[in-house]
């Protein structure tokens, strides 16, 4: 369909009275189709009303142009009628006279009787017949807004612009009015743009939601498509599977904007001390048992011991927060799923390769695959049972939760399914869900199973909502779990800090591996700042101990492995190459033709070796092959042949991935 409203590279700059400039909007690009309902959402002051005013023509862009049906918008006009935030009814005119003013001045070519009919029809449309001859002062807020909508629609605009139309109304009135507006828009095929700050309103009304970043220089952060079918009902929309993911997407975006604002306001200059380039670090982590090395390094003083005096641990709720923090540059380092440095480097995030390196594998194991309890009750006890079950129930959609495309959970779950003859893309649906939400979703029935790090498998099993169908013991014992990731340019700018950080965390890993400390670590992890869960769910013991005796068979868990003298913390090139093959296998990233170079850049073995040597740790490394449960050999010297050999896979591409030359950013 052709473009109805076009916003093309629009900048808006306000001249300040002090002589300065305020760049409100920068590089806004937006195309709106006929009949579409688009919402603009963002924090106050992000310029969403300014954008609306520019479409209305009440404000003109400083750069770029706004068009309606290909015609440049230079001034306001009745074909783009605005429903203003504070109604803008003329208080000295009655409801009828207010609408009449618009109709009479815009449709003056029409016979008077017809105009009167239009006015009456629109008064009826918003149900204000009994109030037609009252002045706005005698109407309630909801009624006034209805008059404003009636006035706007009565002049038959091509485009309806709504500026926070329901902001000042109470919840009940707002709900009713939203439904009325939706109905009117559908019946009259109205194209509409609405400014709002209410995420529920945006999901309910819109076809697309445009999210604006915070000013100055606001731009479009993201555009969400709302795939909920119309006609929508307020109470039913909530039940649609997309509703909560759209809603949480928006809330995530808005929170992220708020945090960026806070971080911008804070002084972020690097503090140089103890011969380190930067001792004030922001390190991101997720509330999972595997965050133990970070928590311990902080709580037991390993950061300070190695000169990192001002480390701040930032708890994110999803891996996406980590990705945004690292790409945005406001996290110095982060706990990452082991596939994430490679995924970011290969351009998994928005197709923009961002070199990220790892010098330390912080944990191994600690993951499992959980299915809802009802599968167990129906006799699904193994992978082959699961496959048969899926074959039996082809007409149903089975949803599996993973935490992030780059996480080991995703790669292992896919590998596990594929090894059992289940295509993870066509036989089941994979959904990205934050770890802490998995159990809730499993209980709520929105997913059928998931693969996630501890404690969330254990917890589902203990609570009885799910059961563990496979642990690391049955997929890949000793697989890398979480790694330390930093941007390559960060590593180049702060090389000594990088080593100090690696040392602190390596020592923390060692501390975590000592069974004598287990109780203390469990207590620290269970606390509010970290995993914030019942201590019972934090299990650290040796995998050889049977964990509990529920009436359905509990698995032997491969618990987290934090440290061993056999160099389990050393970043492994072989593993990174395997991850590369899997990312390419599922179409997340191309397989890099220059894979040797990429692996060398992602795996900072030298940083690890220096750290280990300076700590005086005797770490013996011998290259070992990867052993997965299906016994398929992996030859790290010929990954493409391995990839070709896999049966279930997507059409992968092999391409040169060009990374920027490693450089030091001006600190």
């Amino acid at each position: 369909m052709s473009i109805f409203v076009g916003v093309d590279q629009v900048d808006k700059i306000f001249e300040l009275t002090g002589g300065g400039q305020y760049i409100a909007l920068k590089g806004i690009d937006l195309q709106i189709k006929k009949g579409e309902f688009v919402s603009l959402i963002g924090h106050s002051g992000c310029g969403k009303s300014t954008l609306l005013n520019m479409i209305a023509g009440l404000d003109l862009p400083t750069e770029g142009l706004v068009t309606l049906e290909g015609q440049r918008i230079k001034k306001p006009g009745p074909d783009r009628m605005v429903v203003f935030q504070n109604y803008s009814l003329l208080p000295w005119r009655t409801v009828r006279e207010n609408i009449a003013l618009a109709v009479d001045s815009v449709l003056h070519g029409m016979p008077a009787a017809e105009r009167k009919a239009i006015i009456d029809r629109h008064i009826d449309m918003v149900g204000l017949r009994p109030h037609a001859d009252k002045q706005p002062g005698m109407l309630s807020g909801g009624q006034k807004q209805r008059v404003a909508i009636a006035r706007a629609l009565a002049i038959r605009p091509k485009l309806l612009l709504l500026d926070e139309p329901f902001g000042a109304l109470d919840a009940l009135t707002r709900g009713n009015l939203q439904e009325q507006l939706m109905q009117i828009c559908e019946e009259n095929q109205v194209t509409a743009v609405m400014v709002t700050h209410d995420v529920d309103e945006a999901v309910l009304l819109s076809d697309r939601i445009v999210m604006l970043t915070n000013g100055p220089e606001s731009k479009i952060g993201d555009i969400l498509e709302v795939d909920i079918p119309r006609p929508r009902k307020r109470m039913e929309v909530v039940k649609h599977p997309s509703y909560y993911s759209l809603r949480s997407e928006m809330i995530y975006f808005l929170n992220q904007q708020k945090r960026i604002k806070k971080i911008r306001a804070r002084k972020t200059a690097a503090v140089v001390r103890h011969g380190l380039e930067k001792v004030n670090l922001e390190i991101g982590f997720l509330p999972i048992t595997a965050c133990a090395p970070l928590a311990i390094a902080k709580e037991k003083g390993f950061f300070i011991k190695h000169g990192l005096d001002e480390v701040n641990l930032v708890r994110e709720s999803s891996w996406r927060g980590i990705v945004d923090g690292i790409t945005g540059g406001y996290l110095d380092a982060a706990q990452m799923p082991s596939g994430m440095p490679m995924w970011l480097s290969l351009g998994g995030n928005k197709n923009q390769p961002l070199p990220v390196v790892t010098a330390l594998t912080m944990t191994r194991n600690g993951n499992a695959i959980t299915l809802a309890k009802r599968f167990y009750d129906e006799g699904v006890h193994s992978l082959s049972d699961f496959k048969n079950y899926l074959l039996k129930t082809r007409e149903q959609t089975h949803r599996m939760g993973v935490v992030h495309p780059a996480s080991m959970h995703n790669l292992l779950l896919r590998y596990w399914l594929a090894a059992g003859g289940i295509d993870p893309d066509s036989d089941v649906v994979m959904k990205n869900i934050p770890p802490a939400q998995m159990v809730v979703d499993l209980k709520g029935g929105t997913i059928d199973g998931y693969s996630v790090g501890e404690p969330w498998n254990y917890r589902a099993a203990v609570e009885g909502s799910g059961f563990t169908i496979a642990t690391d013991l049955e997929v890949w014992l000793g697989h890398p779990g979480k790694v330390l990731g930093v941007r390559e340019d960060w590593a180049e700018t702060y090389p000594n800090t990088h080593i100090a950080l690696t040392k602190a965390l390596l020592e923390a890993c060692q501390y975590c591996a000592d069974p004598a400390n287990a109780q203390e670590i469990r207590q620290i992890l269970a606390s509010q700042e970290y995993v914030s869960t019942d201590i019972e769910y934090i299990q650290l013991e040796d995998p050889n101990n049977a964990t509990c005796d529920l009436n359905h068979p509990m698995r032997e868990y491969a618990h987290h492995q934090f440290y061993s003298e056999s160099a389990i913390n050393r970043p492994s090139r072989t593993e990174q190459i395997w991850i590369m093959t899997q990312l390419a296998r599922w179409g997340d990233t191309p397989f890099p033709r220059n894979w040797v170079e990429i692996v060398e850049r992602v795996c900072r073995v030298r940083v690890f070796s220096t750290a280990a040597r300076e700590l005086g740790l005797d770490i013996s490394y011998t290259r070992q092959p990867i052993q997965l449960f299906d016994g398929k050999p992996f030859n790290a010297d010929d990954p493409i042949a391995y990839l070709n050999d896999l049966e279930i896979k997507r059409d992968f591409s092999i391409a040169e991935v060009i990374l920027d030359a490693p450089r030091r950013t001006a600190a």
Binding site: L101, A102, G137
Partner: protein, 278 residues
Amino acid sequence: MTTFTAKRRNSNNSDSAISVFISKQLPEIIPPTIAIVVFLVIWQVFSLIAGTLPGPIQVVQETWELILYPFYDRGGIDKGLFWQIFASLQRVAISYTLAAIVGIGLGILIGVNQTMSKALDPLFQLLRTVPPLAWVPISLAALRQNEPAALFVIFITSLWPILINTAVGVKEIPNDYNNVAKVLQLSQKEYFLNILIPAALPYIFTGLRISIGLAWLAIIAAEIVMSGIVGIGFFIWDAYQANKVSEVILALVYIGVVGLILDKLMAWLQNRILPQQK
């Protein structure tokens, strides 16, 4: 709503309505009545002690004739108090109307036009602080006749509040209304009639109400100075020259009452014309 119910009650039983009305108004009437009585008593006591000014009883005794016959006319300037006040009111009416027309017109011009506003504002601010009496010699020198000079003084005094309030009213038209006008692409005339005037009207009325008080103030000042014309101002001056202090006091009471009535009249007009905005 309240007026509606009150009306209905009136029509149903009008006999008791009057007594209801009175009993309702009693709390409104009693306190001012007491205050006036107390004031008169104090005045009487003071006049007995000091003896320079007549007390209220003496005033009524000495001006009894004037109170009883407000309509007498013996030609020249020897006329009843009604005619004196009427003559003054006529002048006020003429000048005030003129001031309203000029003030509202200029006010809108200043309110709409930024350049005009910048150019004329200092001039107006300067002129508006000049007290009415100071205009008297200028207007006499310029116009050389009592009548037009008096008219001019009233005009110039009552002009400023109207002008400045109108200008503010036009400037303060909410942006929302202007945006509505822009989006609907109202013509100049439509904008003027449908948006500008109604939106500025409350301000204009505030100006008009302040001005009517000032106009009445100015007429007395002007007439006192200009001899030989019929009017309540000159009546006071004349009575003072003849040492009839009681007549001066009576005239003061009349002036006060007329001023009060004029103000109430404007308030009533304002309520009639302006919609009850919330």
